[in-house]
Amino acid sequence: MTVPGEINWHEHLPVLQVVVPLSGALLAAIVREGRLAWLVAMIACWAMPIISIALLTQVIASGPISYAMGGWPPPVGIEYRIDQANAYVMVFVSIMAALVMTYMPRSTADEIRPEKHGWYYACFLLCLAGLEGMLASGDAFNIFVFMEISSLSMYVLIALGSDRRALVAAYQYLMIGTLGATFYVIGVGLLFTMTGTLNLIDIASRLNQVEHARPILAAMAFIVVGLGLKIALFPMHLWLPNAYAFAPSAATAFIASTATKVAVYLLLRYLFSVFGVEIGFEATPASGLFLTLAVMAMIIASTIAIFERNVKRMLAYSSVAQIGYIMLGIGLVNQAGLTGGIAHLFNHAIIKGTLFLAIGCVVYATGITRVASMAGIGRTMPLTMGAFVTAGLGLIGVPGTAGFISKWYLVQAAIEAGMWWIAAVIVISSVLAVIYIGRIVEIAWFREPSDRQVRNPPPEMLAVTIALAAATIYFGIFTDFSGGGAAEAARVLFGGYPR
């Protein structure tokens, strides 16, 4: 029972997901002072997992939620639509944000000039608000606006890196990212011209009545390429390595584990829910294209990673390869493949988060990012590098780690689709991962440490890193949430919107 005039917070959860970080960003920008701004950001970030988990339980209990923005019922107003697919992604995006926010104050103090801390936290929250908006919104143009909010703040986060190369990385990402977002909005414009609506469910239901198929296919091509640039789908990944390498440590961990994942979710939403398998895959060579690009990413990007001298850039190339796995799951166009792809979204977010956070600890302790300078670092920093190796095993896909679960799903899906060679490609790519992770292990543990001064990383940085490394093991054994949630999400997406 609600008293008239009283706000029923429960009803407004879908929009709070965006409003909380957005107003947090404003507040952080106003208070300016580093510690206070961090406190504001911390409160906002920890409110998010609570909201998203409440949303997920609500969706599981009573089906999709439709929220009319500003009280204007869809399709006239903007609709926020939460179902099991985006609630699942929201949960891990918000948890990663909260963990990284807990991790970051001292790492930030070390890497960024004090007068910029307030802006840094404000941009972090803006980025989070944009990502959550992209997930929650059911309106094609609203998604574009949120995409630009998250991208613009991400460019700032990257440009705040202490090396001057961070500026160039941010500029190049800005050019490519804006091209991507504009391609997306061209696609939405064509859809809008043909169907007269921007509501995703409405678009889906009217696509069958459209007489001319060609503008729809053109729209799909524009949207896929636009989102492909945001996902860093091979060969559209050129912005990613330097952006990840030169952004501040904590920002890299956050961006690497969330931003590309949200773009993948949008691609899935468009291909499966809006266009549907009929238009999306049967009328186009999309499936073959995705499989080809995925295989190239898995092999070529992993090979580049082996020869990379900067450890952050090595992990970035590894990210491009892992995105290949996710696209592989999409390209198989069956429910098992989609489950594997979505499970890999989740597992890769945890694994790559751990790896970048561990490197953040190393940077804090020693200031090095070059692989060659990491000799003996495992002996001087056993806990940090222990977490790194654990997550590295997950990346390789050793049984008992999270990475194994999603690779296993993908292999099963490939066999189900009758494509045995894909299982072989997964094995080859995993072997390449053994080499590039093994190289770090060899240098970090089996070489004599130099007598460099090493600072101890602060307890909160270590605690978050180790907790995430433990999660890599946990989700390798208990797959109720990661695997089960992914299966539900795949079912919802594969079913498409009602037509």
Partner: protein, 124 residues
């Protein structure tokens, strides 16, 4: 003659396509970072036209509820593009700010030279 009419009737789309291609061409062909941002802006501007022109109906009026008018132009594209313009301005502002900082840090805004400097930093 028919073909010519067909082409002329859709002149708005031809302008859109021209701007779109000109913008992307500038982005990929130029090395000067400011010129590339200008190209990006032209590319974004083409999208405004893409949205606005189908919203216009010949003989249509603004959407005023009155018995005298029956054909309305769709006002929604205008609202959308207002938002897109804001996004475009923000992007351009951020891009230019980054170019200023790059000029301070590298002493050049030619991408060729800056990328070479980045390469030297990488292998230092």
């Amino acid at each position: 003659m028919n073909l010519l009419n067909e082409i002329l009737a859709h002149y708005n789309y031809w302008i859109t396509i021209f701007l779109m291609v000109a913008g992307v061409f500038t982005v990929v062909s130029k090395s000067n970072m400011i010129k590339r941002l200008v190209g990006l802006s032209i590319f974004q501007t083409s999208v405004y036209l893409l949205y606005l022109s189908p919203g216009k109906i010949l003989g249509g009026t603004p959407p005023i509820l009155d018995k005298a008018y029956t054909v309305y132009s769709n006002p929604l594209p205008h609202v959308l593009i207002l938002t897109a313009i804001v996004v475009g301005v923000a992007t351009l502002a951020l891009g230019l700010a980054l170019v200023v900082r790059i000029n301070e840090a590298f002493g050049s805004i030619e991408e060729d030279e800056v990328v070479q400097a980045v390469y030297r930093d990488d292998h230092a």
